[in-house]
């Protein structure tokens, strides 16, 4: 499909783990993921730890390369590009990471950090680089005169994260992948960063892939949200429908956990913790923890199909798209336990 900025098809990332006691096992961290991001669109990606969301993000930028699948960015399949062509094609896609202090080289000055991508690309004069660095720092609301010469090691978490954003913007990317980019920050600083991301969105028309475990943040930042469970997408949903009409029981359960929601948590409780990606359950991967699983769920794996609301859901018995306490959970409620 043309018109989309990023188009991911059947992406698979297999990690080979060497166990603590010698043996090795394979782990399908990302197991057949397809989705698209349009220009200027912001897409949220949500899931529990170990669901493969960070592996997915890294696979998108080919660090490391995914095992299978396509990552078409501006109509070029990154998985097939090599060497310099890959380096160039990838410039349009940049990442912002969770740990602010780790995102910038502590021994470099702010100006050098921001200038590095410009210098690596070459072809920019010394004076132009300097001007561009000032412009970029201005974009992330760091007064260039005060920050340029400082070393990254001296900055606070919020400041580091701004520098990391400025640097990511240096190559004028079209897509910014934020991997838990505000999770490590204190709430007051987190809000400042979220506002910055919003400003950049409207000023530069940036598209975002916003990865977070914090549903309140993702709901605030995204147009569309992908829910990931054990390496697969289980629901894709318009952010506006999140509160009203989640179709997948997993989505509904997670949404009920957002502080301030008045849903009955005891009904939609997620029992236990996600199984390891090294031993994925048969049938629907979620059935072992689902609050409304039926017998069929243990044997048949649901496909990701389109919903009436324009989203996609992978569930044999999706919840009805009704306002307020989702469906009639009591009908399908089973007491927790294996």
């Amino acid at each position: 499909m043309s018109g989309s900025l990023l188009e991911v098809r059947d992406l698979v990332q297999v990690h080979r783990l060497r166990g603590a006691r010698g043996g090795s096992q394979t782990l399908r961290a990302v197991d057949g993921v397809s989705f698209e991001i349009g220009p200027g669109e912001s897409v949220g990606l949500v899931g529990e730890s170990g669901c493969g969301k960070s592996s997915l993000a890294r696979a998108l930028v080919q660090l490391p390369r995914p095992t299978e699948g396509e990552v078409r960015f501006r109509d070029q399949d990154l998985c097939r590009l090599r060497g310099g062509a890959l380096l160039r094609a990838r410039l349009g896609m940049q990442m912002v990471f969770q740990d602010p202090h780790s995102s910038v080289n502590p021994r470099m000055s702010v100006a050098n950090i921001v200038a590095e991508p410009l210098r690596l690309r070459g072809g920019t004069g010394r004076r132009q680089v300097r001007a561009r660095v000032r412009e970029l720092l201005d974009m992330v609301r760091l007064p260039a005169s005060r920050y340029e010469a400082r070393r990254a090691g001296e900055l606070s978490g919020g400041e580091c994260q701004r520098v990391a954003v400025a640097r990511a913007l240096a190559g004028s990317p079209e897509l910014l992948i934020c991997d838990e980019a505000v999770s490590a920050l204190d709430v007051s600083v987190q809000a400042q960063l979220l506002n910055l991301f919003e400003e950049l969105r409207s000023e530069l028309g940036l598209a975002y892939l916003f990865i977070s475990h914090d549903l309140a943040v993702v709901r605030h930042m995204s147009d569309r949200v992908l829910f990931m469970y054990l390496g697969r997408i289980c629901e894709e949903i318009d952010a506006g429908d999140l509160d009203r009409a989640p179709r997948h029981p997993y989505t509904a359960a997670l949404m009920s956990l957002v502080p301030g929601t008045q849903r009955d948590r005891s009904v939609m409780a997620l029992t236990g913790e996600p199984p390891s990606a090294a031993s994925i359950p048969a049938g629907c991967r979620f059935h072992t923890r689902c609050w409304c699983a039926r017998d069929q769920c243990a044997t048949q794996e649901p496909a990701l199909v389109a919903t009436e609301q324009g989203g996609r859901v992978a569930c044999l018995f999706p919840l009805a798209p009704q306002p307020e306490p989702v469906g009639d959970p009591l009908l399908s409620y089973r007491p927790p336990g294996p």
Partner: protein
């Protein structure tokens, strides 16, 4: 656990092959050879050629290596080119092992004392003392020991060696000073390492948590901190063993003990490649076995086995 050990053994074998080949290469490429040292400089070319054939030196280098490797694998390290003695027989050695045990026996209690009084005068004193022993070549304290106990007080023989088979008392008397000298370095290193680890471990959250559930501090130290602090010590012990072998050479020279060190120096001097090769290989084997044992012990103590991140693969 089984497969871990298997992998380690595999790695060790690869490394040993590398070591033996490197030694072989080194000894055969460096200038000077055994023929000159046996026959002396004035030998006739015919005599040289005869000896070369006799010793098998006329064959291709690589073939000779394979040949040697084959017999080494059967436990036969060859016979000394110069003296004709069997190599495996000459180089059995107990000194470094004894020294390591003495070093441990001394350093562990001291580390506990230092850690318990971290930052206080006793700790500083021990830290200063160990710094000196880390910084000094083994022969210096050795000389001092000889001067005090051998020459001044005359309680122990200054040099010389009595074999265990000859007399137990004599063996002990001659062994005390070399063992102590050799142990001093390890004593300082181990003590310092253990002390640092004890302090670091006692600042871990699990120690605080143990305290929070109502344990007394001495119990926290005994049941939690001490045990976990042994892990780096074990790893260190194995690596340090390599350094000890170097120290042994010096100590033997100092105390006039006819051991591996002397043999090594003499053999290198005489270009007796077979003996040198044997010693190198045995040292490397001892080193690798020590590391392997440390790995196994490590697995036993720490179920997670976090490798130092330094071991490749």
């Amino acid at each position: 656990m089984g497969s871990l050990i298997l992998r380690r053994v595999g790695q060790a074998v690869v490394v040993l092959l590398g070591v033996s080949f490197l030694t072989f290469l080194l000894l055969n490429l460096l200038p000077g050879n055994v023929i000159n040292s046996i026959l002396g400089p004035g030998a006739t070319p015919a005599a040289v050629a005869r000896l070369r054939v006799e010793l098998g030196l006329n064959q291709n280098l690589f073939l000779r290596y394979l040949h040697w490797l084959g017999s080494a694998a059967h436990g036969n390290l060859g016979t000394s080119l110069a003296t004709g003695q069997s190599v495996a027989g000459i180089i059995v050695q107990r000194l470094p092992v004894t020294a390591e045990i003495v070093a441990l026996a001394g350093s562990i209690p001291l580390a506990f004392v230092a850690a318990r009084r971290a930052g206080q005068r006793v700790d500083r004193l021990i830290a200063g003392g160990s710094l000196v022993f880390i910084s000094v070549p083994a022969f210096v304290p050795g000389i001092l020991l000889i001067l005090i106990f051998g020459a001044d007080l005359k309680v122990l023989p200054a040099t010389g060696w009595v074999n265990l088979s000859q007399s137990l008392g004599g063996n002990l008397r001659t062994a005390i000073m070399p063992v102590v000298t050799l142990a001093l370095g390890g004593f300082a290193v181990h003590g310092r390492l253990l002390r640092a680890e004890l302090v670091a471990q006692s600042e871990q959250e699990y120690a605080t948590a143990a305290l929070a559930r109502g344990l007394r501090w001495p119990d926290v130290m005994r049941w939690h901190v001490a045990r976990n602090s042994m892990i780096p010590l074990i790893t260190n012990l194995a690596l340090h063993f390599g350094a000890l072998i170097g120290g042994t050479v010096i100590v033997e020279q100092l105390f006039g003990i006819p051991g591996v060190g002397q043999l090594l120096i003499n053999s290198i001097d005489a270009r007796d490649t077979t003996v040198v090769e044997g010693i190198v290989l045995l040292t490397a084997v001892a080193f690798m076995v020590g590391n392997l044992l440390a790995d196994i012990l490590h697995t036993a103590i720490d179920p997670r086995v976090r490798y130092a991140g330094a071991t490749a693969g």
